[in-house]
Amino acid sequence: MKLFEHTWLRVASRITAITMLVTVLFMVGCGEVDDVVTASDDESSEAEEAIEIVELPPIAVAEGDGLPAELPGDLEWLTNDSDPEFASPDAIRGGTFRTTITTFPLTLRLVGPDSNGFFAGYLRYNSFGPVSFHPSTRRAIPALATHWAFGDDGRSIYYRINPNARWSDGEPVTSDDFVFAVQFMRSEQIVAPWYNNYYTDRIRDVKAYDQYTYGVQGADAKPMDEMHYNYAFGPKPRHFHEMSNKWVEVYNWKPEPTTGPYHVGEVSKGKYIDLVRTENWWANDIRFYRYRFNPTRIRVKVIRDVNTEYQHFLKAEIDTFGLVLPDFWHDKAQGEEFDNGYIHKYWLYNQLPQPSIGMFFNTNEPMLAEKDVRYGIAHALNFKRVIDTILRGDYERLPTFQVGFGDYDNKTIKPRTFDLEKAAEYFERAGFSERDETGILTRDGQRLAFTVTYGQQHHTDRLVILKEEAKKAGLELELQLLDASAAFKKQQEKKHQIAWGGWNSQGFSPRYWEHFHSDNATKTQTNNITAYSDPAMDALIMKYRGSSIRSERIKLAHVLERLVHDSGVMVPSFQVPYTREAAWRWIRVPKSIGTPTTGSIFNSQANSAGSFSSGGLFWIDPAMKEETLEAKENGEAFDAVTIIQNDYRTQL
């Protein structure tokens, strides 16, 4: 289960070691030391302080909350054994899959300081929850639980755990592990305020009814599928964790046993981490999990630079390589390895929620508080030109703030497009009609100029074109490239004028409270980076949040999305409704290449892109590997292969 609904785009996790070092240096240098840093520093300097074992308190339940003491007798137990399987029975088990990360993780803990790095994805997806989601039908499918039932109050679920489920150390998974998970996540010993809050505020009660049956109560009523998504957290092994004031340090490099197919094997600090397939894994022959997770070992090597990574890939030192960026797909991924068919290229369209990316206007800025100015800017941004030229027509224009949620999408919204006449009209309405000698519009000596804050160096190319085109409309955009974390901080503190970036989207329905509710408009460190507030919208957002009827939520989402569009506080930029990857010939995939919710074809883990159980479908063919390497040695060629899979492409 993935708890981070909206995290700032993955860029942040791509920060190089250098920039992290800078951040640390800066924090230390300015004496403005981050809490987390002091905590660990102090502890290590006060050497050998005794470890105090802590007994975690039982689950505290607030008034008005709480599950029944006895398991209700009238529950309707549900399961899903009818949705189609999606793995290929031809898959061959075995082999080592070699892949990379850009920085070595700072810890192998799943929570606590520094645990949110890129590698955490490998660890988290190996901690199964009670249910998962079918990658095509998006309905719940069994994982650790075989059956589930919904309580009358609209916000509680009961699960029956598969009695065969085991931790990777051989211990059985019991309902007590789920109770412990909440105790654990609420404890201050893990130094994870976000989780502390989530498991207190969103998860209101958890109760074990017998060894294999337990119930969860959440904060709000939600539609059934979304209830799983929000409240179906994974267990924590009570037998493994000894809670103490030193938990963060003691467990820093002690990987937790997993319930998923892989557990951490050999670790060479700074170099690589091996994930080893758990022997006789309990889900080996279960529907939806058989024929999956085929390599017996996954070696995750540290390679800091994407170009270096590519060179390793060409030398067959790693098995696959991502080609989403246009220059990689079109220009760099060329040559004899591709022409001779040693490496295959795949382009798979999917239907995942699209990241909400674009320009976000800070409405605390006087000029940007004017709707006409915002509309004018939206019409002065030539996204089409960026797409048609440097993005090679590969990307698509994102129509509105949030899309990719099926019925929730308001398909009637069309983005504001580059139109100099309309831009001029809106700017004139705002009083900007005279151009100064540099061609920028002015109003009583005030220039129509804004700073765009962003943190991704490789987006400079796109912004440079937008900037040059905006000049035609008499709008000046100053580009301010900061390092990713500094840019994020600035935007979170609402010190920007225009923020360029966005939010990852996950789950089953769009979210509005974080981004547009007035509660978050005035506070810093919230996701409402436009500081926008509108009482009418507030009311609708609260109604949307509290509703458990799907059709009503869909209607509300359509209205809300329209309001977001009308406010003009965000100009949507691009969407990439596909993944593109290359793999050596011996990495085989099912005929369908992937599923409609496959975020990454060669994802070795159970889930990709949040909650959908779409990973681990590929396998390694040892005979083909030998054949390919031999052919490469002798200069023999196979047919070049480039597969474009359009089946799941959405026409917007």
Binding site: L25, E437, T438, Q457, V464
Partner: protein
């Protein structure tokens, strides 16, 4: 020479410098390049040098921009003179446009649908060194990048030398506690890892031209102090200093008019190398992404683009060639100056 009233020693040194052909011609060439880049707008620019439209002459290079409407076009933003030239040519009504030799500026993206940058050098498109990954003219970015780099290193040099000379001279001249104190200060100061400081600054604020100069100068002034201190110390012991003091000259007068001219050789020989290091500094910072903010034209940014896009060899070749040529010339000049100012030449063993 007589106009400048140079002393015979200097005249000799200049003659000697002139006689070192490689250095002399490098200096001349470099001088020409610097002068040319000062008027780069006349040579490399998207604005026309001259437009003759309906009997009137326009000189758009400098000054306010002319909206398209000035020349009967239907838009209010700046005229695209390359298109205007084509339009006038096809209309053939006696109007004409004179473009600079390279008709692109360093910022505009020359993008055409279906044609994906970077584009290879092309005479037809007048991109003599090709375009970069967003379709900007590489020659234009090289020229304007050179201008910024030269201005940057000159300014940096002035700051560094003013501080270095004043403090170095004072240390050598006054000696004692002042000298000791500053020696320690400089030792500590010069141990600050400058790259980290720049990285920190760059991660918090967007470095502008001047903040970069100031930060680099704050960290760089120490280099010259040691040399100045030593030579001042040496000169201070000479009889002419005692003589000046005996005649009642003050400290400032002694240092300014007596000691400094005699240590000038030290300063002058360092100048070319400081210029070269200034250029490399800026390029390195831009390459790493801690330099001037985009879209400032810069060699470092081109270099980083080039190394990322080895399939477009014209980017990396252009910028590497430009760097090699400029740095070589600066080094030749430096060598020649050092040789010309070398006092050993006048020492004869008998």
């Amino acid at each position: 020479m007589s106009v400048l009233n140079l002393n015979p020693q200097t005249v000799k040194q200049l003659k000697r410098f002139r006689s070192i052909k490689r250095g002399y011609w490098s200096a001349v060439l470099l001088g020409i390049l610097v002068i040319l880049c000062l008027v780069a707008e006349l040579l490399v620019n998207s604005r026309a040098l001259m437009v003759s439209y309906e009997g009137e002459w326009y000189f758009p290079t400098y000054g306010a921009q002319n909206p398209g409407t000035t020349f009967g076009l239907d838009y209010a933003y700046e005229t695209n003179y390359r298109e205007l030239r084509k339009k006038f040519e096809t209309e053939d009504q006696g109007n004409w446009v004179l473009m600079p030799p390279v008709p692109y500026n360093a910022f505009e993206n020359d993008l055409r649908v279906g044609n994906y940058p970077p584009n290879a050098p092309s005479l037809a498109d007048e991109h003599y060194l090709g375009t970069d990954s967003t379709g900007r003219d590489i020659l234009a970015r090289l020229v304007y990048g050179f201008r910024i780099a030269i201005a940057f290193s000159t300014l940096l040099l002035v700051f560094n030398y003013v501080a270095g000379i004043i403090i170095g001279c004072a240390m050598g001249y006054f000696g004692g506690a002042f000298d000791l104190l500053f020696q320690r200060v400089i030792e500590i100061w010069s141990n600050i890892p400058f790259l980290y400081v720049i990285m920190i600054v760059a991660s918090v604020v967007v470095p502008t031209f001047f903040t970069l100069v100031v930060v680099l100068a704050l960290l760089g002034w120490t280099q010259l102090t040691w040399n100045m201190r030593t030579s001042t110390y040496k000169e201070k012991g000479r009889e002419y200093v005692s003589a000046a003091r005996a005649l009642g000259a003050g400290n400032i007068r002694i240092v300014g008019s007596h000691i400094l001219p005699n240590t000038i050789a030290v300063i002058v020989t360092f100048i070319p190398f400081s210029i070269a290091s200034g250029i490399t500094f800026l390029t390195a910072l831009d390459y790493l992404g801690f330099g001037l903010p985009p879209p400032t034209p810069s060699w470092g940014e081109l270099l980083s683009q080039g190394t990322n896009q080895l399939q477009a060899p014209w980017i990396v070749t252009s910028v590497v060639a430009a760097m090699v040529v400029v740095l070589l010339m600066v080094t030749y000049v430096g060598e020649a100056i050092r040789e010309a100012f070398d006092p050993k030449q006048f020492t004869y063993y008998e």
